[in-house]
């Protein structure tokens, strides 16, 4: 039966060649200057332009993922309460379709809808006399990316939150009401504390997702906004300056940010797993 372990050989070789060794290649060339070990590239990433890029990316990701997490929580909460299976099925289908639709087609959809000559922009102008462009909305800037990010982060938040939210027991809520509590007291004392691990985990995953978004921002804004993934892409693709070492240093820093925010997700998942186990053993006794 030991022979069966050979089945693991191809997949570990695959991971080594196509993920781990290239990743270490990025690490080593980010640390290699003209004369061996050097931190030149990292020093460059702390210059104004790249510092600003990290700041903008973080701010955009944080605001959009926090709003998406709260909004996703509200939707999941509402969904569980409607108890209409048809509606729930529609939402699940809709959420997964949007998750598949994300990326380039979604960016194109946004340009067709909210661009300067987009359908909704023109509609608002002609029929409601609301000029969103004059109001400062620009699809190629922070405001536009924020709206676009929300439209793929929200369905993701709903998918991630739904299992946790539907594990809230109806009896807890009823017990609270019997004892004279209000809905908001129930939220504050029971629902939110119970769901906190999964909310933090969802937030970590959404943040990482937003932070590493390249296609949507590339198509909508291109070089007109200073974001880390776009800058890395330009290091490979740009005809102006091909600076792979600097791209490597930026990539390492991005990987650290992603690693930290993803670890929130895994930590929270383990926590809620332990929670579930404790609950089960408590029920058994």
């Amino acid at each position: 039966m030991r022979l069966g372990r050979l089945l693991f050989l191809p997949i570990f070789a695959f991971l080594l060649i196509f993920a781990i060794i290239p990743a270490f290649g990025v690490l080593s060339s980010s640390l290699t200057g003209t004369h061996g070990l050097s931190f030149t590239f990292y020093r460059q990433t702390f210059s104004q332009q790249y510092y600003n890029a990290f700041w903008t990316t973080t701010w955009l990701s944080l605001t959009s993922s926090v709003l998406a997490a709260i909004w996703g929580f509200v939707i999941a909460f509402a969904l569980v309460r409607t108890s209409m299976t048809v509606l729930q099925r529609i939402i699940t289908a809709l959420s997964s379709t949007m998750a598949n639709f994300a990326g380039l087609p979604l960016a194109v959809a946004f340009m067709a809808t909210l661009g300067t000559s987009g359908i909704l922009t023109l509609f608002l102008q002609q029929y409601l006399h609301v000029d969103i462009v004059a109001m400062g909305f620009n699809l190629a800037a922070f405001s536009g990316l924020f709206v676009a990010y929300l439209s793929f982060l929200t369905p993701l938040a709903v998918i991630l939150m739904l299992p946790a939210v539907s594990s809230l027991h109806q009896e807890w809520e009823e017990a609270m009401y019997t004892l004279g509590a209000s809905f908001f007291l129930y939220l504050r004392k029971v629902a939110v504390p119970v769901l906190l691990p999964s909310m933090i985990g969802t937030l970590g995953l959404l943040f990482a997702n937003a932070f590493s978004t390249y296609v949507t921002s590339y198509e909508l804004a291109g070089s007109s906004i200073n974001l880390v993934p776009i800058l890395i892409g330009y290091m490979v693709n740009g005809n102006v300056s091909m600076n792979l070492g600097l791209g490597d240093a930026l990539s390492m820093e991005e990987m650290i940010v992603l690693g930290v925010s993803i670890s929130f997700y895994f930590f929270a998942q383990r926590k809620s797993l332990l929670h579930a186990r404790e609950g089960r053993s408590a029920n058994a006794t």
Partner: protein
């Protein structure tokens, strides 16, 4: 009663949020200064480079699916049955893709695969491997879910105790048992392959036309045709999602059927 009403309003706004860009896109693709037109779709389907990029995308996605099935299924199955510890290592390693987004992996590939032993950058050869890597965590979870819910080990042991060979049990019992999980995982990998843009652009420099690359170029030159193309991408997404959900629903029914119909194992042996 009032709260149900609020819930419905919340859901209504969520649906609105999801649907508005889609409706905008659809109107945009058939709007010719207020008049209805399908010319953008016509241009698209008569454009030979659209058809060749469609073929490229389908081809590369299918190759990725086959690669994923062959590479990932056997170790997961074996690991679940006999070496859970190695499986856990593999599962943890598959999540490496979450810290290796498209741009970073693209940058890494361009550097690592440009030197003679593996001079693959600039050709589409790398793409199926990249898509397999991206799809791996999803594929693994979908097959593992199936394994967890189907008592695969029990069936394997029963089949062998009734005198079946390992290989026979594998082909006649285990593969049909895992088929729904493999199918859902494959659809997920396939849809990653159909929509991937970043790695394709960075490693081939746009020389290999896939649907997303074509869409990106086309929307710049001819927004109408680009919008029509995005509508087609949406239709592909809808088909793939309904396939997964359909399989999912049937799977539930079949799970019950498997529990009832133990004799099917004996027949297979």
């Amino acid at each position: 009663m009032r709260r149900k009403w609020i819930s419905k309003i919340v859901i209504f706004f969520f649906i609105l949020q999801m649907v508005i860009p889609v409706i905008g896109l659809m109107i945009f693709s058939i709007d010719n200064e207020g008049l209805f037109t399908l010319s953008s779709y016509q241009t698209l389907f008569t454009d030979p480079s659209f058809l060749s990029s469609l073929m490229n995308s389908l081809g590369i996605s299918l190759v990725s699916v086959v690669l994923t099935i062959l590479l990932v299924t056997p170790p997961i199955w074996y690991g679940y049955l006999y070496s859970p510890r190695i499986l856990r290592v593999l599962e943890a390693m598959s999540f490496i893709t979450f810290v290796l987004p498209g741009v970073v992996l693209g940058l890494a590939y361009v550097q690592f695969f440009s030197n003679p032993p593996f001079a693959l950058a600039g050709t589409p050869t790398l793409l199926p491997f990249a898509f397999t890597l991206f799809g791996m965590p999803y594929y693994m979870q979908s097959v593992l879910n199936r394994l967890r819910h189907s008592e695969a080990k029990l069936y394997h042991d029963v089949a062998r105790s009734l005198g079946s060979s390992n290989l026979r049990s594998l082909l006649r019992v285990q593969v049909p048992l895992l088929a729904p999980g493999i199918l859902i995982g494959s659809i997920l990998v396939f849809s990653i392959g159909m929509g991937e843009f970043t790695i394709t652009q960075l490693t081939t420099g746009g020389s290999f036309m896939t649907l997303p690359i074509y869409l990106q170029v086309d929307f710049q030159n001819n927004p109408l045709a680009g919008a029509a193309m995005a509508v087609i991408a949406l239709l592909i997404a809808i088909v793939l999602v309904s396939l997964t959900l359909g399989t999912f629903r049937r799977r539930k029914k079949r799970r019950e059927a498997i529990h009832v119909n133990h004799s099917s194992v004996e027949q297979a042996v």
